[in-house]
């Protein structure tokens, strides 16, 4: 039971992180401005670094190193003890810091409702709308084959 609770919490944190990683720093900051940010301290100073991006041979085989990507990471601790982690592609350390803060809030029973409703949910809506727009543009370039029938058969 314990592990199920932990897994569902982890899934919720991952889902929130995914939305935040897809969102722009300005948009996240705009949403965070709508809520009261709790007292917190940096557990890890935000920093830039690299990750080696891996692919798989043939798409589904053994891994290989494709090339690196820039990333930023941060870790914060709320005054109430929750520790949040922020990771994102790119070199925007403020964005990593905000993701860490949101991750900490998602773990707080008092704050999770507000951060989900006022930060994550609206950003998720933007992300989904953007994906749908791209998918619709892409769908218009799908080839519809038809067969020309010649003669009388």
């Amino acid at each position: 039971m314990d592990s199920m609770v932990r897994n569902s919490k982890e899934a919720q944190r991952k889902a929130a992180m995914a939305v935040l990683a897809h969102s722009g720093a300005t948009e996240i900051a705009g949403r965070l401005a709508d809520i009261t940010v709790p007292a917190h301290e940096n557990l890890r100073e935000p920093e830039n670094g690299l990750v080696m991006v891996r692919g798989r041979i043939g798409g589904d085989g053994a891994p290989f190193n494709l090339g690196e990507a820039t990333v930023s990471r941060a870790a914060v601790r709320l005054a109430t003890g929750e520790v949040g982690f922020g990771y994102t592609l790119g070199r925007d350390i403020q964005k990593a810091q905000m993701i860490a803060l949101c991750d900490a809030m998602v773990q707080s029973a008092e704050l999770v409702g507000e951060v989900e409703a006022k930060v994550i949910a609206p950003l998720r809506a933007v992300m989904i709308a953007e994906r749908s727009r791209k998918a619709e543009e892409t769908a218009a370039t799908r080839v519809d084959f038809y067969t020309m029938v010649r003669g009388e058969g």
Binding site: I57, G58, G59, A62, L66
Partner: protein, 367 residues
């Protein structure tokens, strides 16, 4: 004799100042923004990210601007930058089967599940210069239609279900993955290292090698089983968080080349494959990469190694344009001392030759 090479400092400083001025061009023309480069020269940015081996659109745009559009110089700048940052680790392998596809075509099957999706492509354009673009042309908004919820499985997965194509080589979950940025290359090199090398290899070099296989130098009868381009999610196992955290999405192009079959006394014949993967929309690159990946499997598939594209040491030692440009371009640095000794030796040889042939006019000419 030691020849001191000094006194160039001021000339170098002024040369770089002149370079900065020339880079800027006519100052009455507006300065290029990085956003303009990233948005409007996006395939150039993709190439610099791929061969610079660093996914960061803004940095690649900056490199292109600083290099005045010289792609290899820009790639060099990006490679140098990556050496300044610590590496946190490696991502989970990306799953291209779950790509948000923007383009996906197969030249082997007309009716593939998920369909043939052309996406933004130069294919079927007439390659006529468009004078409208010279004058701030505003294109139409893209057409839209209802997005399909159907999955877009890899074509090789479909062939694989019937055993018609070889399966991808698998590895133990914790088996080390070769990294040529960490250890020097040794030959023979495994396929993981070969693919890493090809992924950052010069597009022109791979294009020429891939083309050479089509023209008969190591022929392997390829079909473009599938080419797909789109965004994939990247996850990184963060030690501190204790789980794989999402980092966001990157754009990738993947090419699955399907090649002539191979069988043995114990195994039924099946198609073989070559694989290409690159950052951004890099179709020519991934197609060339897949052709060369397949040709470099000659030894593994018991094929006679006769052509350059099948020789892994030749291919992998000459594919990197930063290494290649370093060695070719170092020839323009001062070699005064080396040359002086060559000149001395040549004079001596010519004198000996002249004396032996009693031809005084040659000796004069050498002075």
């Amino acid at each position: 004799m030691y020849v001191a090479v000094k006194g160039g400092e001021r000339a170098i400083e002024n040369a770089h100042r002149l370079l900065a001025h020339e880079r800027r061009g006519d100052r009455d023309v507006p300065d290029l923004s990085l956003a303009q480069i990233a948005e409007q020269l996006s395939l150039g940015v993709d190439r610099v990210m791929t061969e610079g081996s660093l996914y960061d659109r803004e940095l690649a745009a900056l490199a292109i601007k600083q290099a005045r559009g010289d792609m290899i110089e820009a790639i060099f700048l990006v490679r140098a930058f990556r050496a300044t940052l610590p590496r946190f680790g490696a991502t989970e392998p990306v799953n291209t089967g779950e790509m948000q596809v923007r383009r996906r075509i197969s030249s082997t099957f007309k009716d593939i599940p998920g369909g043939q999706i052309l996406g933004p492509t130069f294919d079927y354009t007439h390659r006529l210069l468009d004078p409208q673009l010279a004058e701030g042309f505003v294109p139409e908004q893209p057409a839209t239609s209802e997005a399909s919820q159907a999955a877009t499985p890899r074509v090789t997965d479909i062939l694989g279900r019937d055993g018609l194509i070889e399966t991808s080589p698998q590895a133990e979950a914790d088996a080390p993955v070769g990294d040529l940025t960490r250890e020097p290359l040794n030959f023979p090199a495994d396929r993981d290292l070969r693919l890493q090398n090809l992924a950052r290899a010069d597009e022109g070099f791979l294009l020429a090698l891939g083309y050479s296989t089509q023209r008969g130098y190591g022929r392997n009868h390829p079909f473009a089983g599938e080419i797909r381009f789109g965004e994939v999610e990247v996850e990184f196992f963060a030690e501190d968080a204790g789980f794989a955290v999402p980092l966001g999405a990157i754009a990738l192009t993947e090419c699955q080349m399907v090649n002539q079959f191979k069988g043995s006394a114990t195994e039924a014949p099946c198609f073989t494959r070559g694989y290409g993967l690159a950052f951004g929309q890099s179709e020519r690159k991934t197609m060339s990469m897949a052709l060369v990946d397949r040709s470099l499997r000659a030894r593994e598939l018991d094929e006679e190694v006769t052509a350059p594209a099948q020789d892994e040491e030749f291919v992998m030692s000459h594919s990197d344009n930063v290494q290649a440009t370093g060695f070719v371009e170092h020839l323009k640095l001062p070699h005064y001392v080396d040359f002086q000794s060559e000149l001395g030796l040549l004079r001596k040889l010519r004198q000996e030759f002249a004396e032996a042939n009693e031809a005084p006019e040659l000796q004069e000419a050498a002075e």
